[in-house]
Symmetry: C2
Subunit: 239 residues, 2 copies
């Protein structure tokens, strides 16, 4: 099953659904660019890029509003069958998380500009780079799972989120040590903590989106169930 399998008698209706899906993926691409730029701005102390990220959220926001309206309109006019309806409701939910990923990227951009001291090298920089890479991969895989409605990949992302949480905790500990060593680091370290927290939140939103994908495909609500139970539901008891 992918996003194109369902056949409809009305070509126009098909085009409307395709258009909503394609807008969703465009929005996802924009969000991905924002996240990549925000992480780059943070790691390379590129304040010009940070500034750009911090003030270009509006495009994502207006896409959210447009897609929302479009989906509601299709539901109202077309009275879609259950499977299409589930797709449209999923899109409505997914764009909320995409928009909030954009918000977090914006925050990282803003903090990247404010952070005066360099974190361009050393252990902390490595940990941040690692977390950043991890989150970028998660987002990429999330958008991929969404485009192909790939439950296994979605499940992988949900599992990966625990690692991101652990990496965030490790960075928090590093930052506390850094603050203890030299109190002049406190303000700066807090800025980096906020960035790490935003990256961790992006991971959370990816997880949310992937749970919606699983829900859409499997028709079971896997949100809020624990991982083992979820794995069992998706891959069977030996999965």
């Amino acid at each position: 099953m992918d996003m194109n399998t369902t056949q409809h008698t009305s070509h126009q209706y098909n085009r409307e659904l395709d258009d909503a899906r394609s807008k969703l993926m465009t929005m996802g691409g924009l969000v991905e660019t924002q996240v990549t730029s925000a992480i780059k701005a943070l790691l390379e102390r590129d304040s010009e890029l940070g500034e750009k990220v911090a003030y270009s959220d509006y495009e994502i926001n207006s896409m959210e509003v447009a897609i929302d309206e479009q989906c509601a309109e299709i539901i109202a006019r077309r009275q879609p069958a259950a499977s299409d309806l589930r797709l449209l409701i999923t899109i409505i939910k997914v764009i909320t998380d995409l928009e909030r990923i954009g918000d977090e990227a914006e925050k990282v951009g803003r903090y990247a500009v404010e952070t005066t001291e360099s974190v361009t090298s050393g252990e902390l920089h490595q940990s941040l780079r690692h977390l950043g890479d991890h989150v970028k991969t998660m987002l990429h895989d999330t958008l991929d799972a969404l485009a192909r409605l790939d439950v296994k990949q979605a499940m992988q992302v949900v599992t990966n989120d625990q690692q991101v949480d652990a990496e965030f905790e490790a960075i928090s500990r590093q930052l506390i040590t850094r603050m203890l060593e030299d109190p002049r680091n406190i303000k700066d370290s807090l800025n980096v903590t906020w960035c790490a927290r935003s990256l961790e939140r992006i991971g959370d939103h990816c997880k949310n989106i992937c749970e919606y994908v699983i829900y859409l495909v499997k028709g079971k609500d896997v949100r809020h169930t624990n991982l083992d139970k979820m794995r069992e539901e998706i891959f069977g008891s030996n999965g």
Copy 2:
């Protein structure tokens, strides 16, 4: 306009809509209790209460799933008219924010348990109490605006969120000073910072919910527009 004005030929359909609305408000009440308890646990260093909040999120989560399913089913079976459809989509969106408010309360409860040093008095305690009171009022007003679909009240909440953000910034500065004064405060102050951040996030979610209420009633998308523009749209250019 309130949640009961729309008349339907089918009594059964009416009952279904009423039931979804009433479940929404029940979920809102549960979330409110969680938030109140979390703030109490933090301010009074009541770790037993904190523990309780940190581990009773499941009830809210399962309500989210149930309401989601119920709304989707009503849309699928009843093919509601535009206004009912907007209501149902709004409910689907609102419960996501309610659930995330529950998550933030859970975090505050968890940090309240972890925070070993007392913040039960002094300037920081006052600021936290102030922020907590503010957020509780915001949530209460949000649920009220939601129950009565009261646009003016919703607008008030959206405006109040800026104050909550400012209070959070003030607490952040107090905590930095506290850390600078005595590095032994760092770990503890960070815990309090996370709590303040969670409270600020609860304010953000209230704002989101109120924007959905305004959208539902006014049929205009006021999300992501600036406050002045929003005020103008709702109260007219002299509002």
